[in-house]
Symmetry: C2
Subunit: 104 residues, 2 copies
């Protein structure tokens, strides 16, 4: 556990399962760090919009993002619905960040 990884073997000592889990843990760490960078950028976007009196929401941009993520999901052999759900999940968190920033 010294390197932040979970058990070397599955609860049942299955080495194949442990290998899969190690890959999943690596991917999860990579995604969390990419999300952290994404939120850093949306924070900068919020400040930039506030400083330049730009409207906070841009429905055209969101529509284009949804269409793009649906297509990307399909090309990666994922359900396009999942691509859209993922974007909405992230956007909800961005809105929470902006609300918290306004409250601060």
């Amino acid at each position: 556990m010294a390197d932040g990884h979970l058990a070397e073997t599955g609860g049942n000592g299955d080495a194949v399962l442990a290998g899969y889990r190690r890959s999943i843990d690596n991917i999860d760490a990579a995604i969390i760090h990419m999300l952290a960078e994404r939120f850093r950028i949306t924070k900068a976007v919020g400040l930039h919009k506030a400083h330049n009196a730009l409207p906070p929401a841009d429905p055209g941009r969101e529509e284009a993002q949804i269409a793009r993520l649906r297509a990307l999901a399909a090309s990666a052999d994922l359900d396009p619905e999942f691509g859209e759900k993922f974007l909405r999940f992230i956007i909800d968190e961005v809105i929470r960040h902006h609300e918290r920033a306004r409250g601060a």
Copy 2:
């Protein structure tokens, strides 16, 4: 748009905003493809468990994943709650995949 990116400038022609959006779009594409790889692995995990008569759920593993993602989120300056929410969002999709696989 030829490279799959969205508009070069924001709807209002703001180059700074357009640059931020281009970074966000790159990150989103990277995350979608990492998620696609993650789901490929959980699919293999499902098959491996089925072939070896291993139990589908492992509450200890999930608890360890939650604790790890909360800590990773905090270290990346994200809300630990978000780390946990993210994992639950992904696990819900994994369950949907497994249900669909069983139905097929």
